[in-house]
Amino acid sequence: MNINEIKIFAKQLRLDALELAFKGGKNGAHLGGGLSTVEIFAVLYGGILNIDPKNPKDENRDRLVVSKGHCVIAYYPALYHKGFLTKEDLDSFETDGSAFHAHALRNIWNGIEFSGGSLSLGISFAVGQALACKKKGLTNRVYVIVGDGECDEGLVWESAMAASQYMLNNLTVIVDCNGLQYDGKTADVMNNAPLSERFRAFGFDSCDVDGHDCSLLIEALSKKSDKPICVVAHTVKGKGVSFMENRREWHHHVLTEEQYKQAVEEVTGNDRIE
């Protein structure tokens, strides 16, 4: 995809995310932290990741580990558009017996490398995967998405330490830094900023980027280094919907029909303005 196509893809993902959340009905969905990751997924699935749904077990494929497991409303639609999931898979979201619940379930045929849900377990797993890929002499990359709140977890830093010790220059950690966690502002609950500097102190080549600017994201994620890479993507929780943006109560919430209509209008409206 070219940059314009990626931007259109991102808009589509945002609409799909809202639709998925609305279909989830009274079960609700993780709207805030899902919408903040939209551009990250759009850029990854729009071109950064070397993956092929026709050959999901390709040894040389890039691996994406979604450690921040609760952003499925953006993740599942991205997998659907890339051809890893069917419409039926998507429609089964949060229905009894479906594999597609609020946290993704590992299934390599669906392009899902890791079962998310318990924060920080993904980044540690990704370090092991990156180590294995290096040992096998592969030239692929392992990408892992973590949240900024997730970085409160000690295991994130155990993993970062090991990534640097084992010189995993095939690993890219993407922090969806939306500044909010369940109980409020990350700065108030447990201030772990500045994350890029902290990752740098752990031996990463790290940078800060506007996490909703697709061009800047592409640039940051295309970078190569002799160190593990950390891209701190500064995002807005609930991005794209005025009544959700930066509102912690939208971390996990039920979307009414009226709210859904307004949200869709805002997202499509934004499209027209651009």
Binding site: R106, L121, F125, A130, A132, K136, A162
Partner: protein
Amino acid sequence: MIALNNISARTFSRLGQRGAIFGIAACEAAKEDSKFILLTADLAQLSGMDRFVGMFPEQFVNAGIAEQNMLGMTAGLSVEGYHPVASTYATFLSMRGCEQMRHYFGYMHLKAVLIGSGAGFSQGYSGNTHYTIEDLSIVRAIPNLIVLSPADAGAAVLLFCEALKSDSAVYMRLTGGLNSPIIYKEDRQFRIGGSVKLREGPDVAILVTGTVVDSALKAAEILGNDGISASVTDIYSIKPIDKQRILEIASSSKALFTVEEHSTIGGLGGAVSEVLAKNGNMPKLVRLGIRDNFDLAGSYESLIRQNRLTPELIAQDIRKNI
């Protein structure tokens, strides 16, 4: 591969369960399998891994003092087709790493061999942080995990070889220290889910696991001198457990006794109770093991005595409870 005989049993015994696995069996496994990989959390030297590290430096990963990340890396290596074995003290593996064991190896059902060493009281004066008296209860509750508990160093080596072939992750609980008592002197198949009846006896049945199997055999001898004939069965596979054998033994004995260097809550005693509870008309079951308490630190022998796990005290408690 590795054979158990009079000579190798003595070598393994000198090294203890941990030393025999990491000093010998792991090296043999790595010779045959380039995907074999050994991980530890800063316990390489203590675990007797130096020989392995020297022979296979590319197949060794030290996670530092970070048990949780050791297990995450183990999972990542496993999913990429490696055959990882990860080890640290049983207390840290089963408790610091509990959620990792549940998530990666239970929920995600990845394969690995996870070895908790120094279980029970073998860490003496290190105190309760280092004793592992509840790992069987914890690990046994996790779906998809296999739980093994060998009686001696030879059995540890053979069970380790079995574990490497397993389709599910295996938690191995290692007890005892160097120069551990020898129970098995010849090659045998240690099937996952099996057990070994070491001694026949129609009166009472002792079901036992770990290095205290030796004490249970000695207790049975003491009881024999008193005219009480006790059978002794090594329950080396805690999960899956040999239900058929336990029910057979239960139906032909007047009383059952479980013996373990582990809390009497949820370990071998718990597992055997669960088997019996489904079947009515069973003989009485008495669970001998570590009482529900944190003891003051002491020598291995004193802790074993305080918890009534010496041969004499096991025999006494059995006599009292028949």
